[in-house]
């Protein structure tokens, strides 16, 4: 136990502590997971046959099971495609010309349109599930480090790490300001008064957080920050182990099968 009281929110930067029980995907090197997610997305986007996409979705669901994602949450996210994308999918059977299957209320539904809607729905969900299973289950800091080791620009990685750090800080600050507004009997309604008030709220949040950033900057310079983070816990990246090579090989095989079916 440390002397300082443990803060539940400070854990986000504390990626070094090992989890007690980890899933198969959880034991993979973060770099393996990022590379696999990118390969998966690229393969799925180029494939157009329905059977190949069903296989890809099955592979994504397998990954989700291996990553031990919460099933209900995953399902809800899969179904919750973006509002306007649902509209896009719903419109496709009516806008794509082709063999007409039915004419409800005088609008022709084409087979090609239905097929294209199915292709898009399968692709979007397969990529979303695989991304959540492989990368979403990763600690965000580990993701930042993995991106850095895979050759992402250092400044971009720093921006990424700082942003996720401040998200929590700002969210708390935001709630404090909201509480102050509620104490003054502010209620969100539909109208310019509410929009303006929330505008002021975020303007104030910006001012406050910028002043905080200035203090952070001063403190970091005091500690000799020159634009680089020395990583204390794992400056020596581990070489990918047998598990990574094995998992990578099996996944590449599955992707080749998907691509072969789609060609």
């Amino acid at each position: 136990m440390s002397v300082l009281a443990p803060c539940p929110c400070s854990g986000i930067l504390d990626a070094a502590r090992p989890r007690t029980e980890r899933s198969l995907v959880g034991r993979l090197d973060p770099r393996t997971r990022v590379v696999l997610a990118v390969l998966f997305a690229l393969t799925v986007v180029t494939v157009a046959s329905l059977s190949a996409l069903v296989l890809a979705l099955a592979a994504a669901v397998t990954l989700a099971v291996l990553a031990r994602l919460a099933p209900r949450q995953t399902l809800r996210r899969m179904l919750a495609l973006e509002g306007f994308m649902l509209v896009v999918l719903a419109l496709l059977p009516f806008t794509v010309p082709g063999r007409i299957l039915a004419e409800p209320l005088g609008f022709a539904v084409s087979a090609e349109g239905l097929r294209q809607a199915a292709v898009i729905g399968l692709r979007a969900n397969a990529v979303a599930v695989a991304l959540m299973a492989l990368v979403g289950s990763l600690e965000v800091v580990a993701l930042g480090r993995a991106l850095s080791r895979l050759g992402a620009p250092e400044r971009l990685v720093h921006l990424f790490l700082f942003t996720i750090r401040y998200l929590e800080v700002l969210e708390r600050e935001y709630r404090r300001l909201r509480l102050a507004m509620r104490a003054r009997a502010f209620r969100p309604t539909c109208g310019p008064h509410c929009w303006r008030s929330i505008g002021y709220l975020f303007g104030m949040l910006m001012v406050r957080s910028l002043e905080r950033a200035e203090r952070i900057d001063a403190a970091m310079r005091c500690r000799g920050f020159t634009g680089r983070f020395p990583l204390l816990d794992d400056d020596e990246p581990q070489r990918p182990g047998a598990l990574d090579w094995g998992f990578g090989a099996v996944s590449c095989l599955a992707l080749a099968l998907v691509a072969g079916l789609g060609a």
């Binding site: 539940p8 973006e82 994308m85 620009p153 910006m206």
Partner: protein, 230 residues
């Protein structure tokens, strides 16, 4: 309580990841994978890579905390939903982002979209370039327009009007770009593309009022933030 957005703290401290409390609500204007055609995807990626590279080159390492703080504010704000008519809307906030971030808006948007795709499942991986372009290019234009017309010591009213134009204009431009990207991917998306523009009109109104208020407050309290890139 519609304006009870962003709960970014994981419910269980052991979970140690950002968890949204509003997963069922969508953030608009992000196209998922599998919709766009390959040439469009490639063009979007090229534009975004160039923009991010240029934005990063001008980003002094000691300025990174400031840019990160601002992009985190904008990220939190884009999760809040506003009552507008019968439903509620999410703000895009790219106009405000362009005003306060300048060219750094490209990397900031990329980070925000990556986080949204990975954590919430909004948007995709291959379309990340197109989505970044759709958000950042209007932001950059709005910010440039604002900086062109804003001088130190302008009145608050002028700041509010410029903010409203930049905020509303950036949303409209984003909607038009999303529509164009869809329409270029295939004729069958043209109806949907028109629909995208129409559904963004209420967002534009709310966002114009929001940005006007935020910018006029900044002009009063911290005018140096508007004058130059932080």
């Amino acid at each position: 309580m519609p304006v009870e957005g962003a709960r970014l703290v994981a419910r269980k401290p052991s979970e140690r990841r950002l968890a949204p409390a509003i997963e069922d609500k969508n953030i608009m204007a992000h196209i998922p994978d599998g919709v766009l055609s390959n040439p469009v995807l490639l063009a979007g990626t090229v534009v975004s890579v160039a923009g991010v590279a240029f934005g990063l080159r001008g980003l002094d390492p000691v300025r990174i905390p400031k840019v990160a703080v601002l992009s985190a504010v904008l990220f939190v704000a884009s999760l809040v939903h506003f009552p507008a008519g019968l439903s509620s809307v999410h703000l895009l906030l790219n106009g405000l982002a362009g005003i306060v971030l300048g060219w750094a808006v490209f990397p900031a948007m990329l980070v925000a979209l990556l986080l949204q795709a990975v954590l919430f499942g909004f948007g995709g991986l291959v379309v990340l370039g197109v989505n970044t372009m759709d958000m950042a290019v209007p932001a950059l234009l709005a910010g440039g327009l604002f900086r062109l017309l804003w001088r130190d010591g302008c009145s608050q009213g002028r700041a509010a009007v410029l903010g409203a134009v930049a905020g509303g204009g950036a949303v409209l431009a984003t909607a038009v770009m999303v529509a164009l990207v869809l329409a270029l991917s295939g004729r069958e998306f043209e109806t949907a593309a028109r629909l995208v523009v129409v559904t963004h009109l209420p967002v534009m109104v709310v966002e114009a009022a929001f940005t006007a208020a935020a910018v006029s407050l900044l002009a009063r309290v911290k005018p140096e933030l508007l004058a130059r890139q932080p």
